[in-house]
Symmetry: C2
Subunit: 223 residues, 2 copies
């Protein structure tokens, strides 16, 4: 099996036009008349939309600012290099000998660019749905737990640092109520600073509800 | 005809779900339980891909850096506000009375956000092809001449400023050759500074070939 066939097997997609796959794998150091920079440009926008839509549909109660933070945590060189590694892309890219000696097959920037270019190439040849299927499978493989707490900022910690620095106290959280059926329970948490209620948060877990309350409190304190 | 129907007529698209159109038109000042910020988040990525793909397919010889500049010139608050105005969006958005008194219906940021949200809503309901059709029609209406020279930087001017400041001279361009059939002629231009050839550019017009040569010369001079 040729190298390109092996990669197609890992990807779960066979290119009709082999040249476009070659182009997507070609780093500019390899001095071909083509390289993957233009496909990378396209693939970057493809990934932005795929991840953006995924978040839009799966985080239906999350505001735009938090969705942007989540997307920034998933759409970046580091995460694309992680997905490139899940495809073993480093073994398949075309780079110059000197770039290879320089550790090029492991460089996050080179891997990330090749990953974006591959997604651009799939989009061009097979359309958005195919690109979505492949990208979301990879995303879920590399980031099985996509949630706000594991990816982005921890508002509780931020608030605690803020109140200790400014007021010398720690916020206290209390469960106000929970409701709904067991498999879809919602929790409302209240947040107190110096025994005064500052904010409330409601979510599907106590932890998340606390985070929401903490975020609102930070906004109030920072004005 | 209701306001929403009027807008749909201008858009050339009728929403099946009227609520999503209302949400796309709702500025956060209007204090509804919903607003257009989430749809704007999605629509921003939709427009990025639509314009990126358009450039990728129509500027097949343009490198990634120049495509990025072109996209930045087309995908921004000002250009989206221009497209929003082509739809008379200002007449249809929902904003608070105080925002309205404040000139909100003419604010580029509010118009641009509503335009992105509308594109996000069309994408969600009707898919990428429909969103593409509408966005590209609008783009061509608002920017009938999408080319590098009219939208982005003029490398010839930049180079001239650079050489005059540093060397006190002006670059000279000479046609090296032209070739190809009349309807698809290519021109190669050479660029001289102090009678020394610095760079060459090849393109479908002399002007473009000069721009390419100037860009390469700038890169060389700036190192």
């Amino acid at each position: 099996m040729s190298d390109l066939r092996k990669l197609e097997k890992i990807l779960g997609y066979s290119f009709k036009n082999e040249q476009i796959l070659k182009e997507a794998l070609t780093h500019k150091s390899s001095k071909q008349p083509y390289n993957n920079e233009r496909l990378e440009f396209l693939g970057d926008a493809v990934m932005d939309l795929i991840v953006g839509e995924y978040l839009f549909k799966n985080f239906s109660k999350t505001n735009e600012g938090d969705m942007s933070k989540l997307r920034a945590a998933l759409v970046n060189e580091k995460s694309f290099a992680t997905m490139a590694n899940a495809l073993n892309l480093g073994d398949f890219i075309y780079i110059s000998q000197s770039e290879q000696n320089n550790g090029g097959r492991e460089k996050p920037s080179i891997l990330s660019d090749a990953f974006e270019a591959i997604m651009g190439a799939i989009y061009l040849e097979a359309g958005l749905f195919k690109a979505q299927e492949i990208a979301l499978n990879l995303l879920q493989k590399c980031y099985p737990k996509i949630d706000y707490l594991s990816l982005v900022k921890d508002y509780k910690t931020e608030l605690q640092e803020l109140t200790q620095a400014r007021l010398g106290v720690t916020p206290v959280y209390e469960l106000v109520r929970s409701f709904g059926p067991d498999h879809k329970k919602e929790f409302e948490m209240a947040l107190f600073i110096n025994e005064r209620e500052i904010s409330r948060g409601m979510a599907g877990s106590k932890k998340e509800a606390q985070q929401i309350a903490a975020r609102i409190a930070i906004e109030k304190i920072k004005g």
